[in-house]
C-alpha cells in the first residue's frame, strides 16, 4: 500500500486502541489523500467508529500515530484539530435551534480566530442549509424534526466549518431504505461539489461502492484492504472482503489444487475447472482451497454444468422474470442465476455451471486470495 505522490491529509501509522479486553484497532495503517472520499467499510464492531474518533481526537491511540497534514497530533485535543464529525445518533444540541446548531462550530474561539472574513456566518449557514435543503427548518427546535431532517442538520453542522477532513460515522444508518437511497445519490452530488477530504464509515457495501473513491475494508480492528471499489470487487484480498462486497454474497465452494489444476472437491471424479494461476507474492501450489464465485457468475440452463451438483432448496423469481436458484451442494448452499425460462423443482438434482475466469481462489486456512482460474484446461476425467 504505497501512497502516491498526492498529498496525504490524514494518516494512521500502526495505530492501536484497546478498550478493556477488546482490541478495537490493531496496528491500523491508513492514508487518506487530499480531496478523496475514503470509505471505511466493515461490519458492526469492526473498529470504524474507533478509527474516526482517533482522527477526531476523542480518543488517543495506545500506540502508533495519528498524523494530520503531516503533523503528528496524538496529544492534540479534539478542539484543536480542524475536523468535523457526524455522530451516529446525530448529537444535535437540544437547547439550541437548528440555526444555532449549524452555526455552533463557527462560533468557537478557534473558528473566530481563524475566520478570514471572506464569508459571514449567516451566509455560510444559509448556503449549507440550502445545499442540504433544510432552509425552512432553520428556526425550529431540534425535537420538532423527523429522523431524516435531524440527519441533514447533523450533516450541515459538520460541513459548515472550514475543516481539514470530514468524518462521517454511518450518517445514513438510521434512515429508512427509501430515504437512504435518495440521500445516497444526493450525498454523492454534494461530495463532488464540496471537493473536501472525507472519511466515511459504513457497514452497507452498496453505499461504500457508490460513494467511495477508495474503500478500506476493516474487520476486528484490522484493515484488510484499501483499494478502489472496482478492485475491491474484482480482486478482494480475502474471502472476507469478497463476502462483504457483493449481494447476494459470494458462493464458497470446496476445491483443491493438484498438479497445477483446480478441481472441485465433491464433484464425483473431481471435475477440473481449469489451470491455477497464482497471484503475485503467493507461494501456494497445491492443497485444499476455497473457490469463490459470485451468484451472477454461476448459472443453470437446464443442462450440464461444470460438475457442481446440488439439490434444489429454493427458487427466487423477480418481477422481470429473472431469478436465482438455491441449491445444497457438498460445500453448502450455492446460489446460481437461472439462465433459462425453465424452473427447477424443489428437490431436483441440478448441475451448476461456473464461469471459470470469474472465479477466485482463496486459501482454505487463512482465507487470503491465492489466484484465479485460467479456463481451457481439459475438463472431465483427469
Amino acid at each position: 500500500m504505497t501512497a502516491s505522490a498526492a498529498t496525504l491529509t490524514v494518516e494512521l501509522r500502526n495505530a492501536s486502541k484497546r478498550f478493556g479486553k477488546i482490541q478495537a484497532l490493531d496496528e491500523a495503517n491508513l492514508a487518506v489523500r487530499e480531496g478523496e472520499c475514503l470509505v471505511i467499510a466493515g461490519p458492526s464492531g469492526a473498529g470504524k467508529t474507533t478509527l474516526l474518533r482517533l482522527v477526531a481526537g476523542l480518543e488517543k491511540p495506545d500506540s502508533g500515530d495519528v498524523v494530520i497534514e503531516g503533523r503528528t497530533v496524538n496529544k492534540d485535543g479534539a478542539w484543536v484539530r480542524r475536523t468535523g464529525m457526524t455522530f451516529e445518533n446525530y448529537a444535535l444540541y437540544p437547547h439550541l435551534t437548528v440555526r444555532d446548531n449549524i452555526a455552533f462550530p463557527l462560533r468557537s474561539k478557534a473558528a473566530r480566530n481563524s475566520a478570514n472574513g471572506k464569508e459571514s456566518e449567516e451566509s455560510r449557514v444559509r448556503r449549507i442549509a440550502e445545499m442540504l435543503r433544510i432552509e425552512e427548518l432553520l428556526d425550529r427546535q431540534t425535537d420538532q424534526l423527523s429522523g431524516g431532517q435531524r440527519q441533514r442538520v447533523s450533516l450541515a453542522r459538520c460541513l459548515v466549518r472550514e475543516a481539514v477532513v470530514f468524518l462521517l460515522d454511518e450518517p445514513l444508518a438510521h434512515l429508512d431504505a427509501k430515504l437512504r437511497l435518495a440521500m445516497r445519490t444526493e450525498f454523492k452530488r454534494m461530495v463532488s461539489k464540496l471537493n473536501a477530504t472525507m472519511i466515511y464509515a459504513t457497514h452497507d457495501y452498496r453505499e461504500a461502492m457508490a460513494l467511495g473513491d477508495r474503500i478500506a475494508v476493516i474487520q476486528e480492528g484490522q484493515i484488510i484492504q484499501v483499494d478502489t471499489p472496482k478492485r475491491i470487487f474484482d480482486q478482494p484480498a480475502s474471502l472476507l472482503v469478497a463476502r462483504f462486497a457483493g449481494h447476494p454474497p459470494i458462493n464458497t465452494i470446496e476445491g483443491s489444487i493438484e498438479g497445477g489444476l483446480v478441481r472441485l472437491s465433491d464433484a464425483g471424479e473431481g471435475a477440473v475447472l481449469g489451470a491455477y494461476s497464482a497471484a503475485d507474492d503467493v507461494n501456494f501450489s497445491h492443497g485444499p482451497v476455497i473457490i469463490g464465485v459470485r451468484p451472477m457468475d454461476c448459472t443453470w440452463d437446464g443442462g450440464a454444468g461444470s460438475g457442481l451438483e446440488g439439490i434444489v432448496r429454493a427458487v427466487k423469481v423477480r418481477q422481470d422474470n429473472t431469478g436465482t436458484v438455491l441449491a445444497e451442494t457438498g460445500s453448502g448452499l450455492v446460489e446460481a442465476t437461472l439462465a433459462t425460462s425453465a424452473r427447477p423443482q424443489f428437490g431436483d438434482r441440478i448441475d451448476i455451471r461456473i464461469e471459470e475466469d470469474r472465479s477466485l481462489i482463496f486459501d482454505k486456512e487463512s482465507e487470503r486470495l491465492l489466484g484465479r482460474i485460467v479456463p481451457g484446461a481439459s475438463k472431465g476425467a483427469h
Binding site: W79, R82, F87, N89, A91, A111, R157
Partner: protein, 305 residues
C-alpha cells in the same frame, strides 16, 4: 429507569381481592370494597390525620389572641381570629433574623450548587484512580455529627474575627450541603449524553467551555431540584446558628425561635406558633412548587432521597 408513573395503579399484588384484573391494567372502580380494603384506607386516613394535625394545631394557635390562649387553654377552633401575633413577630424579627436566614440560605445555596455541579461533572466525566473514594469522601461529610467540629469552628472563627458573622455561616452551610448537591447533580450529569459534549469538542470548544455551554444549560432541572433541597436545609439549620451567631446579630430564624422560647416569662404560644409558621412557610412554598413541577410527568422514581 422504570417509568412507574403514579397515575397508574401499579404495584405488586399484595391485595387479597383476587377478583381484580391482572397487574397493570387495574381499574379502581371494579374492585370490591372488602373489609380489608376499607381497613387499609382507614389506616391511611389516620396516617394522614396524624401527619397534618400538628400543622393544624399550629395554625389555630397562631391566630388566637395570646390572652385567650393563656386563660382559656386549648380549643379546637379559635374563639376569635387575629393576626396580631404575626404582626408582632414580624416586626420584631423580620430584621435581622429572617433576613439573615434568607441571605445565608440563598448565598450558600448558590455556592453549594455551583461547586457541587462542578464536582459532580469532574467525577462523572473523568476517570481516574480513586474516583469513587473521592466521591465517598465528599459524601461522608454529611455523616459527621456537627457537634464534632462545632467547638473548634467556634474557636477558629473567633480567632479570625468572624464571630457572629453571616459570612461564617454561609461558608459552613455551603460545606455541609456540598455533598448533597454533588450527589443529586451526579445523576443529572449522567443523564446528559456524552455525545453532545464530544460533538462540541470536535466543533472547536475547549472542555470547560463545553461544560458551560452544553452541559450546564441541560442541567436546569437538576439545578432547580438541588437548589430547593439545599435552601431548605440551610434555612432549617440550627446548631451552628446557635453556636456561632447571636440573636440580634447574625442570628437566623431558628435561633430567633429558640430565643423567643427561652424568654423568662414562659412561652407565649401564640407568637411562638406564628413565628414557627413563618419559619415553615418558605419550605411549604418550595415544596408546593416541586410538587406542581413533578405532577407534570416527571416521576417520583427519579428523585430518590
Amino acid at each position: 429507569m422504570t417509568t412507574s408513573s403514579l397515575e397508574e395503579n401499579v404495584g405488586p399484588a399484595t391485595s387479597e381481592t383476587r377478583s381484580t384484573v391482572a397487574i397493570g391494567d387495574f381499574s379502581q372502580e371494579k374492585a370490591k370494597w372488602t373489609v380489608g380494603r376499607m381497613l387499609a384506607h382507614l389506616v391511611l386516613v389516620i396516617f394522614a390525620f396524624v401527619i397534618l394535625f400538628p400543622f393544624y394545631w399550629m395554625l389555630v394557635t397562631s391566630v388566637r389572641p395570646q390572652t385567650a390562649i393563656s386563660t382559656a387553654g386549648a380549643v379546637l377552633w379559635p374563639e376569635e381570629i387575629t393576626f396580631f401575633n404575626y404582626e408582632q413577630v414580624i416586626a420584631a424579627h423580620l430584621y435581622p433574623a429572617i433576613m439573615n436566614s434568607f441571605v445565608a440560605g440563598i448565598v450558600s445555596t448558590i455556592l453549594a450548587v455551583a461547586l457541587g455541579t462542578l464536582a459532580a461533572y469532574g467525577l462523572e466525566r473523568y476517570r481516574f484512580r480513586g474516583r469513587e473514594d473521592v466521591a465517598f469522601f465528599i459524601l461522608s461529610q454529611r455523616m459527621m455529627p456537627p457537634i464534632a467540629i462545632a467547638i473548634p469552628i467556634l474557636l477558629i472563627i473567633r480567632s479570625i474575627g468572624l464571630a457572629d458573622s453571616l459570612l461564617a455561616l454561609i461558608l459552613l452551610y455551603t460545606v455541609f450541603n456540598l455533598p448533597l448537591a454533588m450527589w443529586i447533580m451526579r445523576s443529572f450529569v449522567r443523564s446528559v449524553p456524552v455525545e453532545l459534549e464530544e460533538a462540541a469538542l470536535v466543533d472547536g470548544y475547549r472542555p470547560f467551555t463545553v461544560f458551560m455551554k452544553i452541559t450546564v444549560p441541560l442541567l436546569r432541572v437538576g439545578v432547580a431540584v438541588t437548589a430547593i433541597f439545599i435552601f431548605i436545609f440551610a434555612w432549617n439549620e440550627f446548631l451552628f446558628a446557635l453556636i456561632i451567631t447571636t440573636h440580634g446579630g447574625a442570628g437566623t430564624l431558628p435561633l430567633a425561635l429558640a430565643t423567643l422560647a427561652g424568654s423568662p416569662w414562659g412561652i407565649e404560644w401564640g407568637p411562638m406558633m406564628a413565628l414557627s409558621l413563618i419559619a415553615i412557610l418558605p419550605v411549604l412554598l418550595l415544596y408546593a412548587t416541586v410538587v406542581l413541577f413533578l405532577s407534570r410527568g416527571v416521576n417520583l422514581g427519579g428523585v430518590r432521597g
